[in-house]
Structure formats: C-alpha cells, structure tokens
Symmetry: none
Subunit: 402 residues, 2 copies
Amino acid sequence: MEFSFLKPLIKEAKTKIVFLVMDGIGGLPRDEDNKTELEAASTPNLDALASEGICGLQIPVRSGITPGSGPGHLGVFGYDPVQYQVGRGVLAANGINFDLQHGDVAARGNFCSIDSEDNVTDRRAGRISTELNQQLCKLLQEKVNIPGVEVFIRTVKEHRFLIVFRGKDLSGAIHDTDPQELGVKPLRPMATKSEADRTVGIVDQFLTQAHDILKDHHPANMVLLRGFSQKPSWPHMDECFGLKSAAIAAYPMYRGVAKLIGMNVLETGETINDEFTTLENHWDEYDFFYIHIKKTDSYGEDGNFEKKKSVIEEVDAFIPRLRALHPDVIVVTGDHSTPSKMAMHSWHPVPVLLWSERCRRDNVKTFGERACITGGLGPRFPAVDLMTLALANAKRLEKFGA
Amino acid sequence: MEFSFLKPLIKEAKTKIVFLVMDGIGGLPRDEDNKTELEAASTPNLDALASEGICGLQIPVRSGITPGSGPGHLGVFGYDPVQYQVGRGVLAANGINFDLQHGDVAARGNFCSIDSEDNVTDRRAGRISTELNQQLCKLLQEKVNIPGVEVFIRTVKEHRFLIVFRGKDLSGAIHDTDPQELGVKPLRPMATKSEADRTVGIVDQFLTQAHDILKDHHPANMVLLRGFSQKPSWPHMDECFGLKSAAIAAYPMYRGVAKLIGMNVLETGETINDEFTTLENHWDEYDFFYIHIKKTDSYGEDGNFEKKKSVIEEVDAFIPRLRALHPDVIVVTGDHSTPSKMAMHSWHPVPVLLWSERCRRDNVKTFGERACITGGLGPRFPAVDLMTLALANAKRLEKFGA
C-alpha cells in the first residue's frame, strides 16, 4: 500500500486494533495424521474467531520468499519488506535499547564453536547461557582495541550479541561472516559496495582479535557476524496510519522491529501470561497493539511438532482474555511459517484471520492452513494489505474519491 | 493494467461486450438468515449466467479502501483509480453536460440545512425536490457577484448542484467544506496547496454571499461544497482498448465518469426498462456498453435491505432481454459494496461474473458474495484486470510475444 495515497484517507476513531502475531505459526502436515501443528492443535477460541471472522493465507514478502523475522513483521504491519530493508544488526540494537547513532554500523553476533582448524562445529555454541554471554562480551569489550574506532559489544540473549562500530565514514555494506553451514571456516568480511572497503578492514581486525581473545573459551570460542547495517529513517505508524501503537514482545529482536516504525515498546515479562497482562494494563492508552508470541517459532525451528502445537493451544486459552477487552478488530497471524518438519523458516503462506463486527464472514469454521484456503481473504493475500483492511474495519478510513 | 503494454495487442473484432454495473451491489448478511441482499434475492437469470460463466469478488481500488463512485467505476473500466484521480466537481460538470474549460474550478454542491447558530442539521436539506433546487440555483446565479470571476451554478438533481468558477490562475487544490457530520458548522474552505490561496478567497466570498441569499430558505438555507477540481486529460477507451463505447446511465454523475474516458453517453430515461430499451436501440452502433443501475446503491445507503434486494430481482428479470441481443461477453458487477447494514459505501469486495462462450467455467452456481469466494476469478480480483479479461473473451487481443 502506498502511504501517500492512504494518508488523506486516515481519520480519527476511538476503535482499537490488536495484531496477535504467533511467530512461525504456519506449518506442514506430519505424516501420522496429515495435520499441521495448527490443524492438530485444539483451538476452540481461535476457531470461534475464524467462524465469526474472515480467513485466508497471507504472503509476508513475495511468493516463494522465506521471510526473516524483520521482513515478516514489516509486511504484516503494512510496510513492504522489499522497500523497507534493514539489517539484523540495527534490529538487534533497537531490541536491547542500544542508542544507535546515525552513521554507526551494527551487526548481530553469534558466539559459535570452531575446531582446531577453525571450521565451525556449532553456529550457536550450544546456545550458551545468557550469563556466560555477558562474561564473554565483557571480556571482548575490555580487550578489543581498534585505533580510531569505538566498538560496543553487548549481550542480547543466549548465544546472541550486538556489535556496533562507531567512527568516521563507516558503511554497513558488508556480507555476513556466518557461513550458514558446518565444517567450514567463518567467512571473511567482504564489501558489497566499495564504500565499505575501509570498514571491512576494521571488521577484519575485530575478528582477528576476537579469535585470539576467545580461543580458550570453547564452546564459545569464535563469533559469526550477520546483518551489518545502519539506522534507517522510516515513516512511523502514527504518520502512516494515524495509530498510537504499542508493542508487547518478550524478545528484544521484535521490540527492535516495532521501534523502527515508531511503536511504543511496553515493558513486559517472559511469559504469554505476562504479555496479556501488559495488554490489559495498557488497554486504554493505545489504538493499536502488537502482541508477539515467540515460542511457536522456537519449537518449529527445533523441529518439535508437539511443543509447537502446545504453544498454539496455550495461546488459544488467552483469546477469551483478549476478547473481554472488546477490541474492534483482531488479526491473528504470523510473520512467516516455521514448519517443524523443516525446522526452519519457510516461504509457505501464513494463516491469517481478521475478526470485526463489520467484516464479511466467509464459510471458514476452523483456523488452520487448509481451512483458510477457502476463506474470503484468499489463499495468497499480500500481508501489506492487512493493515488497511484492519483500519477499514476499525472505521479509520474515509471513502476514497467521490 | 499498463495501457502502453496492452496497446500493441489490441485487435479489431465484431464482438460486443456489455458491462452491467449494479451500483453498490455487494452487501453484508442480515441477522435473520445470514444472507446478503444478493444472496437473499431470487435471481434465476443471474444464477444461470454465473453457472455458465466465471465468478469471483473484485476490489475496485485497493484492499480495505472504500471507493467513491468515480474511483469504483474507473477501476471496473480498467483505469487504476489511484493513478486516475478526479474530483467530484469535474464529474458533476460532465454529468450535466456543462462545458467545462481547462482552468475552470468545479465543485459539487449540496443544499443543506443549518440552525440559528450555523450548525449543520441536515447535510442534504431533506433531499429537496429538483424543482426547488432549480429555483434556488437561479436565485444564487442572479445574486452572487464576485469581481473578476465568472460563477456558474447549475442544478444536478434533488439537493445536488454544480458550481464552476472561471477566471485567471484558479486552482482546485481546496478541501471540502462539507464537515461530513451534523451539529457542527460547515468547514471554511482551506487550500491544500499554496497555489490555491487566491481561489480560497473567491470561494469564501461565494459562501458568505450564499449564506446571506439563502437565509430564509430553510431547509435549503446553506450549501456545502465538495470535490473542488479541474478537468484532467485522460486516455480514452478507444485509444486504450480499441472499443467504440457507449454509456447508458440515468444519473448525471455516472455519465460524467463515462465521458472522462471518452465513452459516448446515450440519452436514456429514468427506469431500468428505459436503459435496456436504449441498449436495444443502439445495439448495432457500439462495441462496448456500460449500463448503470443506481437504485441498488440508493437503497443500500438508505439501509433498506428489502428494497435493495427487490432492485436486484428487478434487474435479474432484464437479463433475458440482454441475452437475446447475443453479446459476446457479459460482465455483471458493481463499483463498490453498499451493505444496507452499514447504510454507506464499504470496502468489501464486489461480486463479479464474466460470461462468454470462451470463459473457463468454474463451479459457482449462484451469484452471491460467499458463492463467489470459490470462483475462478478468486476472492480478491483486481477490478482493473476486468477489462483485459473481457477483451480476451471478446477475441480482441493478440497473442503477446512470439
């Protein structure tokens, strides 16, 4: 959706919209009963929303494209992910409230394990504890020294950290050093544009020093860097959609995405219950709420069908608490599919339901991949169109033209 | 559809295409039987067309966008309404055959009712008669006097009139004065671009004079102006599609839209029967006919489910007369939805059927919103694609590429 076209149509209303994003919700059927995680889950409350609402399957980026978490979310929030691209580094910085300056280059780091020949044996260093991560980040922060450049190393969670380079004329146009496979060496940093040549040299110095500093800390004896990037200036949700918006997400990464488009990030706890309590406590303060459920994706990535199914059932039980707040529009979807059969993000369209008093109900009675094919939103609904549809259902759009 | 891409593919043929546009045809289910106006109506002839044709739901502008009549029609005729924007003033001028010059600023006026404190009590002055409208327009035309500017005030219908300002360096970049709600004063005219500052002063003078001239004419004791605009230059139907086209519409507004894209507007009467008689009388003269049915929308806007349903049934009875002419392609759709439950235009997709000997039939057997979800055109077909599909079915398009 073109924001400039939409802008004159935005009008004020006292209505409230909730986007419940179950990360990686879409799946693939398991062999034993030909059901996906969502189809196998017992979800009476989501099914009721589906029956009273309009359903479909949405495509977060483009047909056949597997979205990362950033693009997947941006699509769902109405920002075309092809137009609005940002590196994981910036997202990570936002997610942990690191005060990224314009010009800084940020990257997402993973502690990883390498063998005596420097080949990667575990890209996540056995998912070390956050505590160990903190010790290692402190160690790196103390010992790394690159003349003329300030380096910030900050813990994110488990094996994940943030690294920020601050200095003159830096560029984020650098390839990942994560080889995305085992048994090979970490990649050397490479410039994707010549303007980044000097920054590549700086990153290279850092990697050499890190290799030395971490050598006795197996399993976390090396780092991989991804998503080199600089802070973008994007239009905010209030400008684009006239919405005072709040994000409720336990994980830093998702708070980061939300901040980039100007959402207010609410303090919340680790559990789904914490998130819904936060929603209830702030209900009067905002027009739009984004609630993020992480574990559907985590268990999908672990290939754990049963646990992913259980998380879906757990979320289903919170729907009555959501409905008790009387939102005007509820959207339930994901930022992408993460079939536990594949144990990774995938390109498969994502189940979506929109509930409001004013939607035109279709004949879908259950919230599942195959049921949604026949829904009124169709089997390949562009995710970027969700927000305008939600605004329309919330009576927040004027008629276009006379 | 990009016209430049299409143009080399256009070929001559002796085939005929009819677009039957039932204004505001789409609806929402009523509570008693969960049926929309179209689903509740008995439509054996439309159902037969649906059974022999291909069905779906189309989106006139964009997902979630509620189309005004102009954009809704343009979309159906293959002109992207976001690209081809025009104000209601120009449409109104076209609709009553007012010879708008390039540089004129036209606006649609409503006579309205205001109370002693100038707050609007009825935005349509109780829908006064066309006769009273004519008297009041004459009065305004005689008394309004703005130095250096020619002002034309013309009756459209009921409470609607056209006003045209003619002079040097005028601009149509002015906000509506219609507040779109009751109990508040009409809005002062405001420039949307600084180039319109002088024109705003002229409009302001007119409004001050009109307020004085009309003060003793309650319920029509003030005016609201909308859709300030100037004449655009758009490609015509014959250039874009190679079609000699005719519009059959009882209401001026719709004749106006048709003229903007170069259709020949045929004289016709007020009734559906008049319109079909006009079609029959001119059958040999054109390749493409647009027939407009107004009352489906009018009753929808009045919130009158039963009457809207009756008009649909009335139109259904004319289908045999249409088919007796042996058109090659019939498209039945609307320019937008007007659910009587909402009593206004809405964003909901619009039922559409395309009938031809050469279409690929789907399994839809009845013409209704939910039946169309499963049709071959899908639940969210872009309206702008209808015209090329009709041309293809009319054997009017060459193969693309070798």
